[in-house]
């Protein structure tokens, strides 16, 4: 969940070698957009991909604008189910906002057209001459998924060159950047984000197309499992987001909430409510959800007398308490292990066949590669994406992979720092885009004008 801007510890730095450009790195995902200057340690701008639409049809972008319960907003997202762009008109405006709102020294595009909701009168006064585009001084390095379509790739360079006026552009695979950032030119990259979980093998810096595997069993799916868990709990857990609570009194565990609920003249839309609920669910993921370690088989390993060996043994373990915004709170014991299990094993309690599990994908991806690079892949597994921050995720992955490939060295590299796991691709792009030598790589505006958008297919592999 995008919540606040990040404070980069470093000032905008000169590009190494004294070159004058300050390139911008844009790493858009289904849940959030990461944008910032090349050479910095973390993206200055971390903005939600969700945006608001008012009843008049105005678009609102950014965390400062979309969480107002009185604005009667419809919440939407321009990304498709597989984390690639579906609505380019909106994505262009949304990303532009993510870039211009947080990265300083910037001209903004005409505020009457760029969809920003700043105070118009001020902005108009400061406006530069007509025709100025927002990124005329900044080369743009954008990340993309391994399964991005040719159409989308060409659209990216078009937006950069035509709408934003970038002098140069580059498109880099997010899995390759994550591998490079871990010091590896060859790796099996496992990325679990919001919309998509994927396994992609990278060899000498290039993705192996045949090895690309993806699945919807990712963060959004886990959120759905948590909703089902709340729904089925005894007593049922009411997911009441913060904005609805006017006041609350402490209650015992499992007791009904004693809270005053806010009344709205116009009740917020269902999509707005879902957005606010998602914030709580993400917090629940961070503090309560646990991935079963897989030490004695999977969670629902059955035993002859009936029942589940591992799940039942967890019932006697101490649980974790979680308090909802309305003050109701409950202890989560063995149940907190259930919501992520389906990512690893097709589960008999959650929706079945929602998509391939991580295990299915690892096998399929691995089997699609050449024999001679296989040992290198297993010894260089790179884990990235915020859903991999779930407690116990990496331990479980390790246990599954060592069981799958006995006698082979499996080594999983998962950055210990949360920031690196969430922003791994952005950070990789930041280093690359700041290299003095990288100016030879950029697709320049002149090249774009000469060859058209298809140049991106030829140059960015």
């Amino acid at each position: 969940m995008a919540s606040q801007a990040l404070n980069s510890s470093t000032q905008p730095t000169d590009v190494y070698g004294g070159d004058e450009v300050s390139a911008i790195i844009l790493d858009p995902g289904y849940s959030s957009i990461r944008a910032g200057f090349a050479g910095e340690d973390a993206p200055k701008s971390f903005a939600p991909s969700d945006y608001g639409v008012t009843t008049e049809g105005t678009f609102l972008f950014g965390d400062d604008a979309i969480h107002d319960p009185n604005a009667n907003l419809e919440i939407r997202n321009p990304m498709g189910k597989d984390g690639t762009v579906e609505d380019w008109d909106i994505a262009t405006q949304l990303w532009e906002h993510a870039i211009t709102s947080r990265l300083t020294n910037f001209k903004q595009a005409d505020p009457r057209k760029n969809g920003l909701n700043d105070d118009l009168s001020d902005a108009v006064l400061e406006m530069e001459t007509d025709g100025d585009k927002p990124l005329e001084e900044h080369p743009l390095l954008m990340t993309e998924t391994a399964w991005n379509s040719t159409k989308n790739r060409e659209k990216s360079i078009e937006v950069a060159m035509e709408s934003w006026g970038c002098p140069a552009f580059w498109l880099a695979r997010n899995s390759v950047l994550a591998a490079f950032g871990a010091g590896k030119a060859t790796a099996m990259v496992i990325d679990v984000g919001a919309s998509t979980a994927s396994v992609v093998c990278v060899h000498d810096g290039l993705i192996l197309k045949k090895s690309v595997q993806k699945s919807p069993l990712a963060g959004n799916w886990v959120s759905q499992q948590i909703r089902i868990l709340f729904e089925k709990a005894e007593p049922k857990v009411n997911l009441v987001p913060h904005f609805m609570v006017a006041g609350k009194t402490a209650v015992d565990s499992g007791a009904p909430a004693q809270a005053t609920v806010r009344n709205f003249k116009i009740p917020p839309t269902a999509s707005f409510r879902a957005l606010e609920e998602e914030r709580i669910i993400t917090e629940f993921k961070e503090s309560v959800v646990q991935v079963w370690n897989g030490a004695n088989g999977h969670l629902y390993q059955e035993i002859s007398q009936g029942g589940y060996k591992n799940f039942d043994s967890l019932r006697s373990q101490p649980g974790r308490t979680y308090e909802m915004p309305d003050g109701s709170n409950q202890m989560w014991g063995a149940e907190r292990y259930t919501v992520a299990e389906g990512m690893f094993v097709a589960s008999n309690t959650n929706e079945q066949n929602a998509g391939p599990t991580l295990i299915d994908m690892i096998k399929a991806s691995f089997n699609a590669t050449d024999m001679d690079i296989r040992p290198h892949l297993l010894a260089n597994v790179v884990v990235t994406g915020a859903t991999t921050l779930m407690n116990g995720f990496v331990d479980r992955l390790n246990s599954e992979m060592t069981t799958m490939y006995p006698g082979v060295k499996v080594k999983i590299q998962a950055a210990g720092l949360t920031a690196e796991r969430r922003f791994g691709s952005w950070m990789g792009g930041s280093v690359l885009g700041s290299l003095g030598t990288f100016h030879q790589m950029w697709i320049s505006k002149a090249e774009y004008e000469e060859h058209g958008a298809s140049i991106v297919e030829k140059r960015c592999k």
Partner: protein
Amino acid sequence: MSQSGVSLSGDCVSKFNELKLNKKIKYIIYKLTDDYKEIVIEEASEDGDWEAFREKLVSATQKNKAGKVGKGPRYAVYDFSYELASGEGTRSKITFIAWSPDDAGIQPKMIYASSKDALKRALNGLAAEFQANDEDDIEYQSVLAKVSKGLA
């Protein structure tokens, strides 16, 4: 050219050819210059002592952009010889090693990884290759197993 735009200094390949043809040089260690523009030879040695070679990788450093010195990745080529367990004699394999310690900074790791293909593709006659990210990965026994594919 590499994916980072980093290039090779002139003697990177000629020294490798010398290793390949004259069989005197045992290993070459390559590094990136401090300005991250070029891959250069740090050392070429006729000493075949693996431990001494390993120690050089382990203690390698690299300046980051801010001028701070930290652990440094390296590339190396080692003319690795071993006896076949079957008694069928000695084999030698020119092995390419991409050394990138996990505790090096993201900047040097990123730059070495994205520049590797420039060097690797320029060296003709490599018989084996591996990535190493911690000291265990470059233990003699573990390298022997990797390079000989278990036949030593």
